[in-house]
Subunit: 343 residues, 2 copies
């Protein structure tokens, strides 16, 4: 820590950024009857009985007069998906309420929807606070939801997660937290039910891998497909393709006449496997809430990006997915109900 | 949203919890010369010029007199690893400063170390705020660090992450965000450099899988090992074990006389592979900060826990790791410098 004695406003502002806050939009009915609203993170609770909250506003703000005159204000604690609202009410200029659905509260104040919580207040005190005025209001009405909050820290929006109870300490059963081990284990455990399905058809993992690659786009030669499958450590031979053809799942033509393609039965089977995989995914994320599941996806993508240098060229994004990939067919497949998996 | 007109303090407190905050410890020198400190999340910024902050304290607090009389206070914004400090200063009773290293600030105030940021203030205003007093102080000195913050939301500690810029929108190159695809791809991409190493020895993935299982504990029969390796979709035959024996990496005895074991050369090679894996891991997490990397580990463990029902019994924790696993040898292997991988 380095000590600063003569205080530079910029450095001070930066230091204040170390205190994490939610983000609010404070609204009121303006002196001229217009709707007034602005983004503030200087909100906090004050009193429980009577219920009171506070926030502060720059004395130079063009909105100051409205809050000095008006005797009500509403505080909207924004939800995680309201970053655009936060940005809109932080910008100067144009009508901030344009094209927003606005409700009406006490004193005809504009109320926004979709927030985590809303407080409607009567202004009790206006206090001197240096270059700001501190507004203390008694909460007359409030309404809330369980929405995840928008969070601000260090001048940036953040993502809030419940602090995992398993954050500390290493579970010896998981191989010393080695990422390679965890990734492999998570992947292979998810694959087990799929494998059972594949085995019922008298097929092996390697055939599943071929069908997966085919699902990303048809028309490749067996050799091209084999080079793609190789990333899994399986090296398909001609024989593996012939097994799939014999089971009526694929057709093998020359590359000129179409390469390896699904038969209609093969395509249906691939879609069925995809649906089974999706359903297995729903099981796998049962221990994660919606935000955590999204975050896992994001972190995995970062790992994928960092390790992409290892990839053979055939695996590069632009070479892998083709227009006729079966993901489009997914809509027809049963969708897991992720709603039920939120904890 | 459901509207509440007659305000219940408990419901109001719950609604206030929707506003995320950092956590602070506010300290002062007591009237009797003792050190006073308490946990508060009612902190916020007020003014930039002059630099001012505020926080509020329950009028019923036994600490109130010290802050009403004293003319200085210090606010410590706690870091993510200071949950214990937060709990200690939130509890009543015993000496909260016992066995803490305490520095001295303006007016001989106690200062805590290891915080994200510290503000030393002169009390400027004490304002009426219902059942609380609002303290506004001018910041005379502050010092800060880049420590991640401790965060509070909904009555619980939270974990703050930078909001990923790739949070919205799906990248078509990643197969529609299917977790199975992402896990597999992250895993296999991490494996590629290891595979290259293995191939240099004239071995294949399946041999690597055998050595990995052996690394978790020696003495199993080839059949037991094969059943463990099967999770990867590879089914080792006797021939695969013979190749490893012929290369001088393993010894195959009957289970009674020791089962499959590493030779000294085999053990050294397994340790080398483990080190290579660790180094690949350092590359893989280069796009993640320390907190994100820990979180990825935690989320993967949750997925593993949820999908463990799929596992054959041989894979259960208690059956898998043995006392003689080579992870202990890891200390001797070169460690990747994770410090360099923090963004």
């Amino acid at each position: 820590m380095t000590s600063i004695t003569s205080i530079d406003p910029k450095q001070f502002r930066r230091a204040l950024g170390a205190f994490t806050t939610g983000v609010t939009v404070v609204t009121t009915r303006g002196v001229d009857g217009t709707d007034i609203g602005l983004t503030a993170n200087s909100f906090n609770s004050v009193s429980l009985e009577p219920p009171m909250v506070l926030w502060s506003l720059d004395k130079k703000s063009s909105n100051l007069q409205h809050f000095m005159t008006g005797d009500h204000f509403a505080v909207h604690i924004l939800a995680a998906d309201q970053e655009a609202i936060s940005n809109r009410f932080a910008r100067g200029g144009a009508d901030r309420f344009a094209r927003l659905e606005v409700g009406r509260g006490l004193g005809d104040m504009p109320l926004l929807d979709g927030c985590a919580t809303r407080f409607q207040c009567r202004t009790t005190y206006r206090y001197e606070g240096g270059d700001h005025v501190i507004f203390v209001g008694e909460v007359l009405e409030f309404d809330g939801s369980d929405r995840q909050p928008l969070v601000f820290h260090g001048g940036k929006y953040g993502l809030l997660l419940k602090k995992p109870t398993d954050l500390e300490g290493s579970d010896p059963g998981f191989g010393d937290d080695w990422l390679g081990f965890l990734l492999g284990r998570a992947y292979f455990q998810m694959q087990i039910p799929l494998r059972a399905d594949v085995e019922k058809r008298g097929l092996e993992d390697i055939h599943y891998a071929i069908l997966s690659v085919l699902g990303a786009g048809e028309g490749r030669s067996p050799d091209e497909i084999s080079r793609l499958v190789e990333i899994t450590g399986h090296r398909p031979s001609e024989e593996h393709f012939h097994v799939l053809a014999a089971k009526g799942l694929v057709e093998i033509r020359t590359t000129e006449t179409g390469g390896v393609r699904f038969t209609e039965a093969g395509r249906q089977y691939a879609i069925q496997l995809l649906a089974a995989g999706k359903s297995g995914e729903a099981d796998a994320v049962r221990g994660l809430d919606e935000q955590e599941a999204r975050l896992l996806t994001i972190l995995l993508k970062r790992v994928i990006r960092e390790t992409e240098v290892n990839l053979p060229d055939v695996w590069r994004k632009e070479n892998f997915w083709r227009e006729d990939n079966i993901r489009g067919a997914r809509a027809a497949a049963p969708q897991p109900n992720l709603e039920n998996n939120r904890s």
